[in-house]
C-alpha cells in the first residue's frame, strides 16, 4: 500500500475523532511549541543583542580602552574581579599618548560618566548619566541633535559650563518649554543648555534618553571621575578592518607605555561590541544545550500518550484488522497502517505545536521588549521530531496489531 494512501487513511481516522486526537497529541504539541518558541526568542535576542544592544551601547566600529570590561554579561570570579580593580586606571595622559601616536585614522573621545541629579527651577531629575567627554563623542555615538547644537572643541578647551541634554531629561525639566539657552544646575553650578539629543528610545524597557553630556573639563568633572582619570577612551574607525588595525596599534602602544613584559597580561581592556556579547553568547549556548532536555521530556511524555492511544485504537479496531487481514492485508500492511497513523497523529501535533510556538513567540514580542525571530531550521526540527516520536510510539502497538490472528480478530466485537 502506498504511503500517501496510508497517510490519507490516517488523517481520515484522526479527523473522525477530533477531540480524542487532540488530547492524544497535546504532549507532542507542547514539546514542539517550546522548541519553536525558545529558539525563536533566543534567536531574536541574538539579533537584538548584536544589532541593538552592543552596537548602541558601544557604537559601530568603536572600541574602548578601559581599565576592565565595562559590560559583563557572563560570570566573573572574585579573583578576576579583584585583579581587574588592581589595574592602573586610564588617565588623560594615556589619551594624549594614543591621540599622538595612533596612525590609523580614527575619531577619539575621552569619556567619563556617573549618575548625578540635575535640577531646574525647583524640579530635579535624579539618576541622570552625567557624561564628561569631548566634542567628538557626538560623532562616535552618531547622536543627532534635535534642538540647538553640540558643544565645540573650543568650549571643551575653555572648560565651559555647557551641557547637551538627553530627550527624557529635557522633557522632565522643561516640559512645554524650549530648554536651549536656559540653565540647568549640576552640583550647585549653573550650566547653559546648548542642545538636546534626538530621542533614542528604549532598550529592554529602559530609557536610553536619561543622560546629559558636558565637556570633560567642566567643573562637575570632579563628581564623576577623579582628577586626570577617565572611565575609557573611545576610538572609532572608518570600518571593521581599520578597527582591528587600530586595536592592535593601541594594544602595542599601551603595553609599551606601561612597560609590560612579553609574558605579562594586558593590564587594560579593549572593549568591543563583540566582547560585550561574550557572556550572552555563553548564556544562549547553555540555553540551547538545556533546550533538548526540556523538549525531550515533553516528547517522551507525548510519545507515551500516543502509544497508549494507539494501543487503544488497536483493541477498538480489532475487527477492522481482522477484516483487512481476511481481505489480504499482510502483516507489514497492518504494521505500516498503524505506524503511519501514529506518525501522522504526531506530525499533526508537531504542526499545531509549530503554529502555537510561532504564536507564542509573537505574543512575547508584542508584550515584552524581547524580540523574537522564528528560525526556519527549528520548524524542520519540529516536523522531524514529530515523525520520529510518532514512528517510535507506533511501532509497538502496530506490531501487536499485525500479529493478531485474523480468525480471533474477526470474532471481536
Amino acid at each position: 500500500m502506498p504511503i500517501w494512501e496510508a497517510v490519507t487513511m490516517a488523517l481520515r481516522t484522526i479527523w473522525a475523532q477530533k477531540l480524542k486526537s487532540f488530547f492524544s497529541l497535546i504532549g507532542v504539541l507542547i514539546g514542539v511549541m517550546f522548541l519553536i518558541a525558545v529558539v525563536s526568542i533566543v534567536q531574536g535576542m541574538n539579533v537584538y543583542m548584536e544589532d541593538q544592544f552592543a552596537n548602541r551601547l558601544i557604537g559601530l566600529n568603536v572600541f574602548q580602552v578601559r581599565q576592565r570590561p565595562g559590560i559583563v554579561t557572563g560570570d566573573v570570579t572574585r579573583e578576576t574581579w579583584l585583579s581587574w580593580r588592581r589595574r592602573p586606571r586610564i588617565s588623560y595622559a594615556d589619551a594624549d599618548y594614543i591621540k599622538a601616536g595612533l596612525k590609523t585614522p580614527a575619531t577619539i573621545a575621552m569619556y567619563c560618566a556617573d549618575r548625578m541629579p540635575l535640577s531646574y527651577n525647583g524640579k530635579t531629575a535624579k539618576d541622570i548619566d552625567l557624561i564628561g567627554t569631548e566634542a567628538t563623542y557626538f560623532k562616535i555615538k552618531n547622536f543627532e541633535i534635535a534642538n540647538g547644537r553640540a558643544f565645540t572643541a573650543q568650549e571643551v578647551r575653555a572648560s565651559q559650563n555647557v551641557v547637551v541634554l538627553g530627550d527624557l531629561v529635557a522633557e522632565k525639566l522643561y516640559a512645554g518649554q524650549d530648554p536651549v539657552g536656559k540653565e540647568v544646575s549640576i552640583a550647585g553650578l549653573p550650566y547653559r543648555i546648548v542642545g538636546v539629543v534626538a530621542k533614542q528610545g528604549t532598550m529592554f524597557g529602559f530609557s536610553m534618553d536619561k543622560f546629559a553630556i558636558m565637556p570633560y573639563t567642566a567643573p562637575a568633572r570632579r563628581y564623576i571621575c577623579p582628577i586626570n582619570i577617565l572611565d575609557d577612551i573611545q576610538i572609532q574607525t572608518a570600518g571593521p578592518t581599520d578597527m582591528l588595525a587600530a586595536m592592535a596599534e593601541v594594544e602595542a602602544m599601551m603595553r609599551i607605555r606601561r612597560q609590560l613584559k612579553p609574558a605579562q597580561e594586558n593590564n587594560f581592556y579593549l572593549q568591543t561590541a563583540e566582547g560585550a556579547l561574550e557572556g550572552w553568547k555563553r548564556f544562549s549556548k547553555i540555553l540551547f544545550m538545556a533546550l533538548p532536555g526540556l523538549v525531550a521530556i515533553s516528547l517522551v511524555v507525548g510519545g507515551i500518550v500516543i502509544m497508549n492511544i494507539m494501543l487503544m485504537a488497536v483493541s477498538e479496531r480489532t475487527r477492522e484488522i481482522g477484516i483487512r487481514k481476511a481481505l489480504g492485508a499482510k502483516r507489514r500492511d497492518i504494521l505500516a497502517q498503524f505506524v503511519v497513523e501514529s506518525a501522522t497523529l504526531s506530525v499533526v501535533g508537531a504542526g499545531l505545536g509549530i503554529g502555537a510556538g510561532i504564536l507564542l513567540a509573537f505574543v512575547v514580542r508584542a508584550l515584552s521588549p524581547l524580540p523574537a525571530a522564528v528560525a526556519p531550521w527549528s520548524i524542520l526540527v519540529g516536523v522531524g521530531l514529530g515523525i520520529f516520536v510518532g514512528v517510535v510510539a507506533g511501532v509497538y502497538p502496530a506490531t501487536r496489531a499485525s500479529r493478531l490472528d485474523p480468525i480471533v480478530a474477526l470474532r471481536a466485537e
Partner: protein, 233 residues
C-alpha cells in the same frame, strides 16, 4: 486436475483448550470443482466453521493437505496465505464486516488496495463490482446509510472485485429477513450462472436448498455429500 478448485485430503485440526485437546476436524476429505455451488451444513460443533476457516486460508491444518487451484496452502506462511486470501478467496460474512467509516466504494476497493492496484483501476473495478450487484447508485453511501440487504451486496461486490476462484460465504443470510435472504440468494445464483464457484456455510436447510450440492459435516468428517440436482457437478 485443472477443473479441481479445492482438494482437501485427510484434513485434521485440533485446538488446545486449556488441558483439553479439541478435535475439530478428524480426517476430512473434500473436492470441489470449478463453477460448483456447494452448501456446507452441519450442527454446531461439527467442524463447519473450522473447515470454512481452512478453505478461506485464515487457518492452517494440524495435518493433511489442502490444495487450492493447484497450490498447496496447508504449509504456507502468513504472508503467502494473505496473498492467497487476496487473490483467490472472496469472503462474505454473516455480519457483513464492512468498515463502518468507509463508503461502499471504498469498502469494495479494499482488496485491490492490498493487491497493489492503481487508484484509477481500483475505482473502475470497484464501480463495476458495485454495478454488478445492483448498487451503482449507492457507491458513496456509508454502511450505516444502507439496508442489511444492501450491505450484504456491498460485501459481495467486495468479495468479487479481485475476481477470486471461490466466493466463500459464511451464513450470508444469518442477519437478514427472509425477503432479503431470497434477494441475496438470487445474487448468488446469478453469479453461479456466470461461472463463479460458490461455497456457502449455513445451518439453514432452506438456504442450503439453493445450492446445487450439499455437504453435511458431523464430528469433523463428511457425513453426507449429495447433489440437489443431478446436473450440477
Amino acid at each position: 486436475m485443472s477443473d479441481l478448485v479445492i482438494s482437501v485430503r485427510d484434513l485434521t485440526r485440533s485446538y488446545e483448550m486449556g488441558a483439553e485437546v479439541v478435535q475439530a476436524l478428524r480426517g476430512l476429505d473434500l473436492e470441489i470443482r470449478r463453477n460448483e455451488y456447494v452448501a456446507i451444513m452441519g450442527p454446531s460443533g461439527s467442524g463447519k466453521s473450522t473447515l470454512m476457516n481452512m478453505i478461506g486460508c485464515l487457518d492452517t491444518p494440524s495435518s493433511g493437505e489442502y490444495w487450492l487451484n493447484g497450490q498447496e496452502v496447508s504449509r504456507m506462511g502468513d504472508d503467502a496465505l494473505a496473498r492467497v486470501r487476496n487473490k483467490e478467496i472472496g469472503f462474505v460474512f454473516q455480519t457483513f464486516n464492512l468498515l463502518p467509516r468507509a463508503t461502499a466504494l471504498h469498502n469494495v476497493e479494499l482488496p485491490l488496495v492490498y493487491a497493489g492496484t492503481t487508484a484509477r483501476e481500483r475505482r473502475a473495478r470497484g464501480e463495476e463490482a458495485l454495478a454488478r450487484v445492483g448498487l451503482a447508485d449507492r457507491m458513496h453511501h456509508r454502511p450505516n446509510e444502507l439496508s442489511g440487504g444492501q450491505r450484504q451486496r456491498v460485501a459481495i461486490a467486495r468479495a468479487l472485485v479481485n475476481r477470486p476462484s471461490i466466493l466463500l460465504a459464511d451464513e450470508p443470510t444469518g442477519n437478514l429477513d427472509s425477503a432479503t435472504s431470497d434477494e441475496i440468494m438470487r445474487v448468488f445464483e446469478a453469479l453461479h450462472a456466470e461461472g463463479q464457484t460458490v461455497i456457502m456455510v449455513t445451518h439453514e436447510a432452506e438456504i442450503a436448498a439453493h445450492a446445487k450440492r450439499v455437504v453435511v459435516l458431523r464430528d469433523g468428517r463428511v457425513e453426507s455429500d449429495v447433489l440437489n440436482q443431478p446436473k450440477a457437478a
